[in-house]
């Protein structure tokens, strides 16, 4: 069945068939029995990029383009390792990174398929240069 962003929300109760864990387990199979049997571990307990994209679609048709963009970035970042997330965040803080370093982080993000987020980092780098928010190095 296809996804209807206007009527399928909340996915968890209306369209659980569209939601799986990162390992492909259907939402309905995330049960206490499965946890007891050791079939589900904590790495399974998170939204996938695909689910976050569905949520972005819901936000967009609900008339919330910025929230949708944020969820699109989140969908990309779902595939990015924790340490990289935290490193990019630190680099985006004022005066932490040079423009060149920010560009390197953007490239790293692209390597993980996070193109939108990479563009967002590049946009930040341009503004930081103009506003004196880059590190001097």
């Amino acid at each position: 069945m296809t996804f209807d962003p206007t009527n399928d929300y909340p996915l968890g109760t209306r369209r659980p068939d569209l939601v799986t864990t990162p390992g492909g387990r259907p939402l309905a199979d995330v049960t206490l029995d499965a946890v007891r049997a050791g079939e589900v571990d904590s790495s399974e307990i998170r939204a996938t990029s695909a689910t976050l994209r569905l949520q972005a679609g819901v936000a967009r048709v609900a008339g919330r383009p910025q929230l949708a963009e944020n969820l699109e970035r989140a969908a990309e970042l779902a595939a990015v390792p924790d340490h990289l997330l935290l490193d990019v965040y630190t680099a985006l803080r004022p005066g932490r990174a040079t423009a060149a370093t920010l560009e390197e982080w953007a490239v790293r993000l692209e390597e993980h398929g996070a193109d939108r987020t990479a563009a967002f980092v590049r946009e930040a780098a341009r503004v930081y240069v103009e506003r004196g928010l880059v590190a001097h190095g």
Binding site: T21, V30, D41, S42, A59, N70, L86, T117
Partner: protein, 745 residues
């Protein structure tokens, strides 16, 4: 020489607060500041070249972010062209729907937004907020902390908060390393109290993200933004870094709400001469542009600063309206202490309480203020009955439910036991039975046994190192006999997979269904529409534990042996020393005691004794046709040989009357029946005889209790109703004799 009244006021709690005159240079001006830019947006070839008094080249980091992500240029030209007053009127016009206002907001600059909201008066702001709230039903958030970081007490308080209807619970740490333990206590407690309640642990971002990744928390509201570039940078962030962090949280399944609030820029010394409302409009424009679903705003920790200047309270309500207008979920402050004065604090609260916001407070202290480690506790455990009563008074749902004491004790104990079990199963330092008992019934952490804090933090570090997650917590609960809590904790893990709560204004009900602005939006279009407190919910919110039924309150008042007997129709007499004691229709019959609890027989004896002491002759009659004390007394006076009567209602109110006076006139009125003793009634008897015998009579001294009415008006009403029910229309007064006494002399 000074006025003693001024001196008395100077000793009130309000006098502890500093009020200052506006000082625009430092940003100490609430709204419409003299240096606020005029609203302005110039677009050339699809590019914004000027906004709110600045050329593109001079745009700071905030302007640039808003221009890049926060303005819909297709809407802007028409929206910016609207007259300020026209725009302001649309905010309160019930025929302009919320969706249209949100659409317009997408094309408005911060200065234009602030200008329009600045035109609304407090009641208009409330209407606008009621109309613009994102989710249909209002809600509330609780703070759950304690000074000893006791896990049993955290869990018990979390359970009580959840059971009382709070949709989100926030904790924090005194010692940062405690974070995973506090997060677990909150998770277990919340899901014991009511499945679906969301939790957060406010700690440094890296730690916070780690807790989120492990499924120990579900939301965060620590992402602060500011309205000027220097303050933003002093806060060690930019709009881009905060926006990135928001996406990072969302990628790990965390609901994110940014935080802003008036006064922070002035406090941090870089308000750039702008008004608080304008700077907050800039903050909120950034929040929406960053893609946050919502914001915690309403001055938050700077509230006392904003309240020091004229119009501060109004401006805080204005910033809540701005946030809602921008289609953001609003957690509307009221958490930090706003004032020393209970009156002033409550007056400020009404701005959010009456219209209702997504979270009326961004942290109601469910425990006593002493244990609130946020430095909050504007409203706390001791204020709960007041909050519930004010909801009942206004017929307003401000997100807290009354719960009977035995049920509160039950969930508190269950939660403390559950966290005890989880600590045992996960090999954490044990939670003793005495801790469970103290957490269930105690007042605050001072009553909690001390724990080995070194062992706790060490265990907390180990917990992270071992990668303990929400699933481990669910399993531990399952193994130790808490299946329903285990299911609820697992339910929260399932929510993370579906991520529905990332949409605007999301809360989760007890069945695991997410309610957000997407599937449960606020559609208020005037009377008869939108969220209204009625039906079952209104029944629940009016049924406070201390409410009694009126019938129960007065009880059966006609118990016991007869006090008087009726001897037949009373005739007029001519004994000049006679004082008629005229009682009401229910006296000593279906009512047997005064409101002060005096036995009617003893009251009659006291009055008669008083009459005799002063040389008069008492005579008892019952007036049956009326219940009003003036008419009872006046009817009696017309039967009295002296023309003097003492009229007495069953609740104890008395009047001395004379037959030649108008019924509503009198010689003396004794209206403070709750305060009278038998000695008072004896004195009334003496005075009545004094009038009868033509002596000089000084009025009976009476006391005044200004609160008697507030305290007793319900009982007064019920007693009077019973008196009224005993009326026999048109009936003549009857002669009475005390049972067991020799017939009236």
């Amino acid at each position: 020489m000074g006025s003693e009244r001024f001196a008395s006021r100077a000793r009130r709690e309000l006098a502890l607060e500093q009020l200052v005159s506006p000082f625009a240079e430092l940003g100490l001006v609430a709204a419409n500041g003299p240096s606020d830019p005029a609203p302005e947006l110039v677009v050339e070839d699809g590019v914004v070249t000027r906004m709110d008094g600045r050329d593109a080249a001079d745009f700071d980091v905030i302007d640039r972010f808003v221009v890049a992500h926060g303005l819909d240029l297709d809407v802007a030209s028409a929206a910016m062209a609207l007259d300020d007053l026209d725009l302001a009127r649309r905010l309160v016009d019930i025929d302009v729907p919320r969706a249209e206002l949100v659409r317009l907001s997408r094309g408005l600059t911060p200065a234009k937004l602030a200008r329009a909201v600045g035109l609304l008066d407090p009641v208009e702001l409330m209407l606008a907020l009621k109309k613009l709230r994102a989710r249909r039903a209002p809600g509330n958030q609780a703070h759950v902390t304690n000074l000893k970081e006791s896990p049993a007490l955290l869990a018990a308080d979390a359970a009580e908060a959840a059971r009382r209807g709070f949709a989100e619970l926030e904790t924090t740490v005194g010692v940062a390393r405690y974070a995973p333990l506090n997060a677990i206590a909150l998770l277990v407690g919340s899901q014991t109290g009511r499945p679906g309640v969301m939790t957060q642990c406010a700690v440094e971002e890296r730690r916070n993200l780690e807790l989120a990744i492990r499924g120990l928390v579900t939301y965060a509201e620590t992402l602060s933004v500011y309205g000027t570039e220097p303050v933003f940078v002093d806060g060690d962030d930019t709009p881009w870094s905060k926006s990135f962090l928001g996406a990072a949280y969302a990628s790990r399944g965390v609901k994110v709400r940014f935080t802003s609030g008036t006064g922070s820029e002035a406090l941090m010394g870089h308000a750039q001469g702008m008004s608080m409302l304008y700077l907050e409009a800039r903050c909120l424009a950034v929040v929406r542009a960053a893609g946050s679903q919502g914001v915690q705003n309403g001055s938050i920790s700077c509230v006392a600063l904003v309240l020091s200047i004229p119009g501060g309270t109004r401006t805080i309500l204005g910033e809540n309206v701005l946030a809602a207008w921008l289609d953001l979920e609003v957690a509307s402050g009221n958490d930090a202490i706003a004032s020393h004065s209970e009156i002033r604090k409550t007056a400020k609260l009404m701005g959010q309480f009456l219209p209702g916001t997504d979270f009326v407070t961004s942290g109601y202290s469910v425990m006593p203020r002493h244990d609130n480690t946020f430095g909050g506790g504007n409203f706390d455990a001791d204020d709960l009955d007041e909050w519930l009563t004010i909801q009942r008074d206004w017929q307003v749902d401000a997100g807290i439910e009354p719960v009977p004491e035995e049920e509160v004790l039950r969930v508190r104990e269950r939660a403390a036991r559950a966290v005890q079990a989880v600590f045992a199963e996960l090999g954490l330092p044990p939670v003793a039975d005495v801790e469970v008992v103290a957490a269930t019934t105690g007042y605050d952490a001072r009553g909690m046994p001390d724990r080995d804090r070194a062992a706790d933090v060490e265990a907390a570090d180990g917990l992270l190192a071992r990668g303990i997650s929400g699933l481990d917590v669910a399993l531990a609960l399952d193994r130790r006999g808490f299946p329903e809590v285990a299911e609820a904790v697992l339910g929260m893990q399932r929510q993370r997979v579906a991520a529905d709560y990332l949409q605007t204004s999301a809360v989760i009900d007890a069945d695991g269904v997410v309610h957000s602005a997407v599937n449960d939006p606020n559609v208020y279009e005037g009377p008869g529409t939108g969220y209204r407190l009625e039906g079952e919910r209104w029944e629940l919110l009016q049924s406070l534990p201390q409410v009694v039924s009126p019938a129960e309150l007065v009880g059966d008042l006609s118990e016991g042996a007869p006090v008087v007997e009726e001897l037949g129709i009373a005739e007029a007499h001519d004994d000049p020393a006679e004082v008629v004691v005229a009682v009401g229709p229910a006296f000593a019959d279906t009512i047997r005691r005064t409101i002060a609890g005096l036995d009617h027989r003893e009251v009659l004896d006291a009055i008669c004794d008083g009459v005799r002491e002063a040389g008069g002759t008492p005579r008892l009659v019952r007036v049956r046709r009326v219940a009003d004390v003036a008419f009872i007394a006046h009817d009696g006076s017309r039967l009295s040989g002296s023309g003097i009567a003492l009229g007495l209602q069953s609740k104890g109110t008395a009047v001395i009357h004379r037959s030649d006076l108008e019924p509503l006139d009198n010689l003396e009125l004794f209206g403070m029946s709750p305060l009278y003793t038998l000695e008072s009634y004896r004195a009334m008897g003496r005075n009545a005889a004094g009038y009868a015998l033509g002596k000089r009579v000084g009025p009976v001294p009476t006391q005044l209790d200004n609160f008697a009415r507030a305290k007793l008006i319900v009982r007064t009403t019920l007693l009077h109703a019973r008196e009224t029910q005993a009326i026999v229309p048109g009936a003549e007064p009857v002669e009475l004799a005390l049972v067991g006494a020799s017939v009236a002399q």
